[in-house]
Each structure stands twice: as C-alpha cells, then as structure tokens.
Point group: C3
Chain length 131, copies 3
Amino acid sequence: MVLLQGDDILPQLEAFAIAENIPAANFTGMGFVNMTFGFFDFTTKEFLPKAFKDVELASMNGTIAWQKGKVSIHAHGVVTDKNFNAFGGHILEGKVGTGSLEIMLLIHDKPLERKFEDDLGANVLCIDNCK
Amino acid sequence: MVLLQGDDILPQLEAFAIAENIPAANFTGMGFVNMTFGFFDFTTKEFLPKAFKDVELASMNGTIAWQKGKVSIHAHGVVTDKNFNAFGGHILEGKVGTGSLEIMLLIHDKPLERKFEDDLGANVLCIDNCK
Amino acid sequence: MVLLQGDDILPQLEAFAIAENIPAANFTGMGFVNMTFGFFDFTTKEFLPKAFKDVELASMNGTIAWQKGKVSIHAHGVVTDKNFNAFGGHILEGKVGTGSLEIMLLIHDKPLERKFEDDLGANVLCIDNCK
C-alpha cells in the first residue's frame, strides 16, 4: 500500500480494511510525514499530544483489529528530523508529507477484536481471552 | 500474541516458542513497557545496562532461534518517554507496563540456530553456515 | 539473511534480490552497524548525509522493488549509541559493525516498480498506478 502527499494515514488504513474486508492485519511502514503522537496520562486517561512536522517516518508498527463492528487501529512510530534526532510513540494522527509512505500489511485469516478495559481506561487486543 | 501488565517479555516469548515447538520466528511488537537495554562493550564482552520506566515501546524487532537445544531470543527495541524522546538498543529484559504489549510473530518452517563466535564474544545467527 | 562484520548492507540486499530473482520484498533488520542517513532537502533535491559509527541498529524497515530493470531498495532505520540515544532516517549506506546483522525478508509474489516523480524529485513505489 502506497500513500501519497496529503493522505491521512489512519483513515486510509481504516478505509482499506473495510473495502478489503480484512479480518485483522499487522503492518509496518516508512516514509515522509507530519505526525502527532500522544502519551497516555493514566491519571486523566487522556493522550497528551505533540505534533512533528516534515519528518522521516523511520519506523511504524501497527495492528488492525475490530471493536464492536468498527475498525480499531493501533500504531506506534518513530520519526526523525533534519538533524536525525528520533522521537515517537503512540500515533494519534498523521499525514503523508512531501513524498510518499510505503506500508506493508500482513493480513491474518482470523479476526482480532479489541475490548475496552475499565481498569486501564484503554482498549486492549484480545485473542483467546475475549469475553 | 498479547501480553498484559507485569508480563516478563523475553521469558513469555521463550515459553511460547517451547509450548508451540516453533522452529524459528521473527517478531515485531509495540506497547507500553519498562525496558532495560544493554550496549555491548567489546573490551569487557559485557553489556552495560540502562533501564527505562513507563515508556512506550515504539518498535521491537527480534528473532527466535535455538542454541544447543535452548531457545535463543535476540531483540532490539526503541522506547519513547513522555516527552516523545526516543532511546533504545539491545533488549536485556522488559516487562509490560500499565497497558499491554502486542507482538506479531512470523513463524518459519525451518529451524534457525545460533552459535557462539569466540572472536566477537557474542552469539551469531547462522543459516547455511552453521558449523 | 545474516550479514557479518564489514558487509555492505544495501549492495548485499541488491545482490540477494538479483541472485534469487525476487519480484519484490519487504524487510526488517537489527544488528550492530556503521550507518549513514540522509535527510532530503526539497530545495536542492539532495540528501544531506550524516554518519553514525558503532551503533546498534534498533530497527530497519525497507522495500525491495525494481526500476527500469534495476533493483531499487528503499530503507529507513533507527540506530542507538552507547548512551541509548536514538537517531535515524533514510538509509544512504551502511556496513555491519563488530557483530552481525539479522535481516528478515518477506518475499512477494508480484513485482513492485518504482518510478521517478518529477514534482518530488524522488522515486515513488507504484502498485496499481504505474504509468
């Protein structure tokens, strides 16, 4: 999957998952992006965001699953700036920058589900332990 | 494979490899962890460790192989802190933090072996060149 | 695929792609390397390089495709130094350092092509939109 300048990464992956009716998938990616990461604050149960502009996406790892009939994407990434310094974390949103984004998806045969864990205040992937 | 809070990452992978009798595998992963990395000192042939607490695991790449009948896991990772700064290297040990860890394993048909290289003082994966 | 000390990473991948006649592939990797990254300057259309010596390759993600009959490799990576600080970006060249480099390749059935995009001054992977 190749995304081009201006493409919105997570919505594009979501649309692809729906269009191709993917049970579940893992993906990796790399390219040139504008990316917003969020660090989860366990007190407020909210993500504190920070945006990085015009950076290389040095790595991206994610999982496509489903939650109550909707696509649930969870992805982490590392970006690097013009001085080659690295930053990253949990991806809140990202768009392809001046260039492209190459994504490699590995589609699974069996569906994966996420469920909300009250204790954590976060969604957790479940394989055999989906209640 | 999904690990939950408190799970010890490398021993869990090792137990999985034994339980499923995996010939070899590569894996990627991402989640929220406490992780200790080690930088190999080629003079002393020892790893100098450093621990990072409550960090996002932005990427993890590793190989599961065998060495003299025992599971041999080699993994590298990148973690990011609440300021989104990135650190990483060779994983010595790690536990899942407040949250979860999603691991994607790609199982190989053929076994992989590691052997100890005296010159390096380190274990090296061998494919066709296992003496 | 396992590369050893002194091996030139991108030429080795290129030789492997030709020898095995690979239509296309994605790969991940980790090891100990000397690596030169480049940050693309969209004004001059040139990569500004920076070299990192004796560093762990914490992650590498890349794609092997073809362009006008020649192998076209695009790879990004993250390296970490002895203080566990992370740097990275677009890989210009790299050699295996004191140790080894483990590369996991996922070979695709269908060929992938890259083409030069005048607007970007860069090569872009094309899947269904190859003109």
